[in-house]
């Protein structure tokens, strides 16, 4: 059943409406799971999950206990205009949480979203990467909340759990805000901006069903999930471009590489020369790889998870 979470009037004959799909099973108040996505308008991987998960749960209503709320578009104007941020506001929506009822329209909307999700047993916040980078399916956890969240993250059927250091600026994210409100929230990153990778979506849906069984929201055995690699910042090596041009990858996303292996090069199309060759600084897996060919000096090319071998 579609419900309105919060809305605000737009200038000319339209309203900004945040909606959710509420799927209720037996004893609907016993548990609540929130699946949210579409904070960044260019991230579409979660759209498939929202659609497919709703279909799967409809078929499992006889074994569903509690309520699942699916929020497919926290930033509907961004999705409809292919714009990552908040149209007309020029801010990243994931930097304005928990929002406020006494500030701007988008902060009012953000606050309404937080108040709606608050109190859920668990929230899963699904992101794709942006249009520039492709990511393997992973969960990202702030080190401040790692102890409580890592056991749940391991159930999500993801390839990788990245426990990253705390940064003050990240305190404005939806996940941080909800975790501070004692609503456990996991951030999933997978795929690439402006695209849908159905296999990643299916992988995550299996993980969601596993978590639901664990929470007692599905009265059926949990599906089998893969064991993710769990890592901290110290195991992650970054490769950034030192020249501008066009990136030509020489490895595959998810490939295991050796230290010193050529990851790709940056081409200068005007002069017909190679401006830079980029090598892996460690043995490991390419879990992030540049997707968009145009690069600036400093553009992220790849992230390698060290200490991983074939």
């Amino acid at each position: 059943m579609t419900e309105t979470v919060i809305k605000a009037p737009l200038p000319v004959g339209e309203a900004l409406v945040i909606q959710k799909n509420r799927i209720a099973g037996a004893d609907p108040k016993s548990h609540r799971l929130s699946i949210v996505t579409g904070t960044h308008g260019d991230e579409l991987e979660g759209q498939y999950v929202a659609w497919q998960l709703a279909r799967v749960l409809e078929k499992k209503k006889d074994v569903l206990r509690g309520t699942v709320d699916i929020y497919p578009a926290l930033n509907p104007l961004g999705i409809s205009t292919i714009y990552r941020g908040l149209p007309g506001f020029d801010l990243d929506m994931n930097r304005i949480f928990p929002g406020s009822r006494n500030e701007t329209m988008y902060e009012y909307i953000a606050n309404g979203i937080i108040r709606d999700i608050k109190g859920a047993d668990l929230c899963i916040d699904i992101h794709a990467s942006n249009i520039f980078l492709r990511e393997i399916p992973q969960v990202r956890i702030n080190e401040k909340t790692a102890k409580a969240l890592t056991p749940l993250a391991k159930l999500l059927n993801m390839d990788f759990i990245w426990i990253h250091s705390a940064a003050t600026v990240l305190e404005s994210t939806l996940a941080y805000s909800l975790n501070m409100l004692k609503t456990k929230t996991l951030v999933v990153e997978m795929g690439v901006g402006m695209r849908i990778t159905q296999s990643y979506g299916d992988q995550l849906i299996t993980g969601v069903l596993s978590v639901m069984s664990h929470l007692g929201m599905l009265t059926e055995p949990a599906p089998e999930v893969k064991q993710p690699v769990v890592s901290t910042d110290g195991s992650v090596a970054f490769i950034n471009a030192d020249a501008s041009g066009f990136f030509m990858p020489q490895v595959m996303h998810g490939e295991y590489v050796k230290k010193g292996q050529l990851v790709g090069y940056i081409a200068d199309a005007l002069n017909g020369v190679t401006k830079e060759e980029l090598f892996s600084p460690v043995d490991g897996m390419v879990f992030t790889l540049r997707e968009y060919p145009v690069v600036n000096e400093g553009s992220l090319i790849a992230r390698i998870l060290g200490g991983i071998e074939l």
Binding site: A15, M105, G298
Partner: protein
């Protein structure tokens, strides 16, 4: 005046390298640094900094700088965005003023923030000619972020109408102002009325406030030939003629009253920043975009001075139409 190339932005394919210049005055001592435009829409901030370059040149030529006073002005570090009418970095829409203190081996805007911050570090005082994220006009003011390192009293030396003390939000921790302070530069953000269009009067007010600040610090006291005396007199900056600190009203940002609208539509504004209004005064109306019927009347909730006014003509509901400094 010495023009120094601080670094070159050569980060995008098919764009020509752009040098970022600092204009230095007085001694080599790092007394004051002034940062102009960082974002691509900060035309007013670049213009204000450019006026400062001219004023400092005149003062330096007249021998007014104290021997131990060294000033640097950076008019613009946002050329790559400015030249293509973008507010943020053109490729990925990231904001350099959310990347400080920067990271030399990081992503593009982290690297640019790092180069800029390296050039701006070590100064006793730092002034950022800043813009705000809301589309609107301000009363010219100086703003201090309450980091625990700041000295609020120093903000009075600008002689601007208002000194606003802001408690930092999480996203403030990556701004130039915040990091300058953490790295022990006493930092102020000066806001004039506008951002993407030049407002001569408030640009002049902002530039003069920087000179007034420096004069108050005793950095413009020496050798006062007739031309300098005339200049300082015209600007009201002679000793004993400075605007007293008490004339600057100190306001804690959390005490500002946000005035919201409920309806969306066309905004018709009847009052402007700096207007004093009485409780109940009609400030603006929201009219129906199809019929011009009045949808909502926005009235002052209290006596006070308007500090901020939304300037876009189309307005969504739940926007901040005005910010008011309540009289009490």
């Amino acid at each position: 005046m010495r023009r120094v190339k601080l670094f070159t932005i050569d980060a995008l394919p098919y764009r020509q390298p752009i040098p970022v210049y600092g204009y230095r005055f007085g001694s080599r001592k790092k007394t004051l640094a002034v940062m102009g435009a960082i974002r691509g829409d900060e035309v007013q901030q670049m213009y204000t900094a450019a006026r400062l370059v001219r004023k400092f040149s005149e003062l330096e030529a007249a021998g007014t700088f104290a021997p131990d006073c060294g000033v640097m002005v950076v008019p613009c570090a946002g050329q790559f965005s400015m030249n293509v009418s973008k507010r943020f970095w053109p490729l990925d829409n990231t904001d350099i003023n959310r990347m400080f203190p920067g990271y030399g081996a990081g992503e593009t805007t982290q690297r640019l923030a790092d180069r800029l911050f390296t050039a701006l570090q070590g100064y006793k005082w730092g002034i950022h000619l800043a813009s705000f994220y809301l589309p609107g006009d301000f009363v010219p003011h100086v703003r201090i972020v309450d980091t625990g390192y700041q000295d609020n009293e120093e903000g009075l030396d600008f002689g601007l109408p208002y000194l606003v003390i802001r408690k930092p939000h999480p996203y403030d921790t990556t701004t130039l102002n915040y990091n300058w302070q953490v790295w022990e530069t006493r930092t102020f953000s000066v806001y004039s009325r506008t951002t993407d269009r030049i407002d001569e009067e408030s640009a002049e007010m902002a530039a003069d406030s920087v000179l007034r600040f420096l004069a108050k610090k005793g950095m413009l006291p020496h050798k006062r030939p007739e031309s300098v005396l005339r200049f300082l007199t015209e600007k009201g900056m002679l000793d004993g003629e400075f605007p007293e600190g008490s004339k600057t009203k100190t306001v804690k940002e959390e005490k500002l009253v946000n005035i919201h609208n409920k309806a969306g539509g066309i905004l018709i504004r009847y009052h402007h920043p700096a207007d004093f209004v009485r409780e109940g005064n009609l400030l603006a109306e929201i009219i129906d975009p199809y019929t011009t019927d009045v949808q909502e009347r926005i009235c002052a909730p209290a006596d006070g001075t308007l500090f901020f006014a939304h300037h876009a003509q189309l307005i969504a509901g739940h926007s901040i139409v005005f910010r008011l400094i309540p009289e009490r």
